[in-house]
């Protein structure tokens, strides 16, 4: 199977429409930004999130009454009986999520004063309880401790499997639970109202540090990319690569604004990845321009050269982006909530990267050529914009200079 064999699309001609589209898209993102601001996740804004899974229906009113300043929303499908609680930033460094969980625990689980909550506590507390009661008469030897630890671990594993215990039969069906242990469990433990899936607290200082770090990471990696490509190719390419990267990152950010997505650490990871990946199409295309310059005998304008290279590499571009898009769509559909926005941003970034290669990059190259007023040396003496006069002396590329010097 083959697509785009000897295609002859005039990409260069579409560049004005493309630039207009990109600008519009970004303006729309900007408008959303002005309207809503950035929806900073707690990684950057500081604050806390707690995700809880409930044994019965979620007591939403109770939660709202308990946590006045929190935003509480359903997490996952209704049958998951889970909520995500977000708490705004505190000015002090305290264990915010921990305090919230403790408060909810004392409110929703009044029995906890006398009994051990199997939906809330971890392995160690349960193991200690069993060890101190010692229903299976193992004594106080060290092996007794491991024995009860294993039983406790099995029970906790069981809980992870079912999500949350809803009845004691689930608990006692865990491997290693003897009749006597079951007796102790029935007597001294109970099944609390919720299980903590996840709790996070980020202090104001860390959040602030991360914002700085993230910004610098994106800026510096963009510049590093430009520098590398300048050395490998030339200045015009380095510069247009930076424009291309900035374009792709801004398009992704604009999209994030449009869906009012949360700006989290994962999003920064996605942006950094876009910086490195979306430029690849452009590298491949420029590589071809350079190769053609060496190989082709006929005189061509810069526009023609760009069009030729883009058409020659078109099927590769589509295939590669296609394969990455395939895996990203799989991530989007099956990867779960935690990386949903990450996958979206990457997807937009990859698409923007492909699109900018055939639209924005030629636009920059041609504009550069016009403003500098000379044929760009990448495309050699034969490359002229259509308005140009006969060729001048060729200026050597850095590589050629190096080759001569070495």
């Amino acid at each position: 199977m083959q697509i785009f064999v000897n295609s002859k699309f005039d990409f260069v001609r579409w560049r004005f429409y493309a630039v207009s589209f990109s600008v519009l898209f970004m303006l729309l993102g900007l408008a959303m930004f002005l309207k809503h601001g950035v929806n900073w996740g707690i990684d950057f804004a500081g604050g806390a999130t707690v995700t809880l899974k409930f044994r019965d229906a979620v007591p939403m009113d109770r939660l709202r009454a308990d946590l006045a300043d929190a935003s509480i929303q359903q997490y996952g499908p209704p049958e998951a009986r889970s909520v995500l609680i977000r708490l705004p930033e505190l000015k002090k460094e305290v264990d915010y999520a921990g305090l919230v969980v403790a408060k909810l625990n004392s409110d929703l689980n009044p029995q906890a004063a006398a009994k051990l909550d199997l939906n809330f506590n971890g392995r160690d507390r349960l193991a200690e309880l069993l060890y101190s009661v010692d229903p299976d008469a193992k004594g106080t030897v060290p092996t007794a401790k491991t024995y009860y630890q294993d039983v406790a671990q099995n029970i906790i594993n069981k809980r992870s499997e079912v999500g949350i215990f809803t009845n004691m039969a689930q608990v006692t069906s865990a491997p290693g639970v003897t009749t006597r242990i079951a007796g102790v469990l029935n007597d001294k433990t109970f099944l609390g109202a919720f299980n903590v899936l996840n709790q996070e607290t980020v202090g104001p200082q860390v959040g602030h540090d991360l914002q700085q770090k993230a910004m610098w990471a994106v800026i510096l990696s963009t510049l590093a990319m430009g520098l590398y490509l300048w050395l490998r190719f030339d200045l015009m390419f380095g510069a247009s690569a930076i424009v291309c990267i900035v374009h792709d990152v801004l398009m992704s950010l604009a999209f994030l604004m449009m869906i009012n997505g949360e700006f989290s650490l994962n999003i920064v990871a996605a942006l950094l990845l876009i910086v490195g990946f979306s430029i690849n199409d452009t590298v491949v295309m420029y590589d071809r321009v350079r190769e053609n310059k060496r190989k082709l005998k006929t005189r061509m304008t810069l526009e023609e050269q760009l069009n030729l290279a883009m058409n020659q590499t078109l099927s590769r571009t589509i295939l590669t982006s296609g394969s990455v898009v395939i895996v990203l769509v799989a991530l989007l559909l099956f990867g779960g909530k935690v990386i949903h926005e990450f996958a979206w941003i990457l997807l937009i970034g990859v698409l923007a990267g492909t699109y900018s290669t055939v639209t924005i990059v030629p636009a920059v190259a041609i504009a550069w050529n016009k403003f500098t007023g000379r044929g760009h040396d990448l495309s050699g003496p034969v490359a002229r914009t259509r308005t140009d006069n006969p060729p001048r002396q060729q200026t050597p590329t850095p590589q050629q200079r190096k080759r001569r010097a070495g």
Partner: protein
Amino acid sequence: MTRGLLWRVILILVVLVGFAWAIVPTKDTPEPIRRGLDLKGGTHLVMRVNVGDAVRLETDQASEMLKAQAKKGNLPIPATKRVNDTTFVAVLPADTPTSGYETIAKDYIPSFDVGRTPEGAMQFKMKTASLTAIERDTITHTVETIDNRVNALGVTEPYIAPESNNRIVIQLPGVDDPARVKDIIKTTAQLQFRLVEGEPASDPTATLNGVAPNMKTEVDILPGTREDALGRAAGVEYYAVRKTVPVTGTDLKNARVQKGQLGQPNVGFSLTPDGARKFGDLTGANIKRRLAIVLDNKVVSAPVINSQINESGVIEGNFTQEQAADLSLVLRSGSLPASLTTLEERTVGPSLGRDSIHQGVLASLVGFIALILAVLLYYKGAGINAVLALLLNLIILLGMMAIFHATLTLPGIAGIILTLGMAIDSNVLVFERIREELRDGKVVRAAIENGFSRAFGTIIDTHMTTIISALFLFQFGTGPIKGFAVTLLIGLFASVFTAFFVSRVIFDVMYKAQNRPTEISI
């Protein structure tokens, strides 16, 4: 098959077997690739070590030393005051020469520079080198102590490491009771035995009024728990305890939970030989007086000394079994030189981790299969080649992660399948080139030859750009993101190897065997 080709095939097989070996679970390594906290459940903590505590302590000790040596040398005892963490001033009586104190400073507190305040008092400022050394030691000591405590809790494979800005990162996989672990980690556990002056009272001033006038400047007022007749906690009361601390937690040899006479849990301790001597002197000379057991500046209990105690004793307080167990644990593991502030905490419960890994694996499988189908459909015979290279890439990637103990995180899983998507790129570049060469009328062998050599530079460039961004990602990231960057980096290196070397060898094996291949499925 030619000799060179044979060797290359052997090399590939060795690589394949070697990395596959690394990812096969064995008895010793049931989990060859370590799962990150987000997949396994556990707690990630970033804490700030308040090194100021240790610096302050050093400054206070230096001013005490100055006074003690002045007393010894029959010099007037100066009034000292700490102005900040690293500086204290000593006000001398009028017309006292400073030379005697300067000698003391030189001999006994060499880590301080001596100067003068505008008001004419002596000023002692800690040297920068000493300050740095104290800060460094404090961090090291803190990391060691936390390590001891975490190990005593039985956490498997904890990660505890200092970071910049006096921060430490603590990762505790599998811990599902973060509140308790945090309490244990954060307890400073500075245990002191100090004599009580006067009687405890319900407010600090009343306590101080009960102290003999000549002792008033020699005591600290510390809070403690009041007990009712039945020994239950009932409010707060304040004790006046002497400033001198004859015996501290560092003199302990061991601590463990004991049962008291009524079956209530207590913490029994035994002392080092040196500590036992000091404790014997202290208790022997102060029979019938109260001795306060002070933990982190709170009086835990203040029993009356009935007889001289040498080697061991008991700390009684209103402990639950768990509190007693935790206290004996922190006493055994030593005290922290400075307090800790939690800056960041991320805890993932085991069930969420379980869900995440299920979803991650499912998404990867679907993506991977879709990718294979697409490649096979598009390239047919050569597609098989690409798929083989891709599989080998996956094996190398996972094997490297196992060998280097890299951590697999949820974004890391995304990183893996993304890497595979990108690895395809190299194959695509080569294959498209081969097709072009064929269209230009080249024979099969020359087309393969040119396809690989022409695509080489491009492939290096595309990989380099992604490597650059992965390096920035690594530098920027924490926890899961770092795992993602590592996965990506390993994958990129593996992809150069498979796309170039392996894929080439497969073509050679397929087409070099024939003398003059005339057809290629691509």
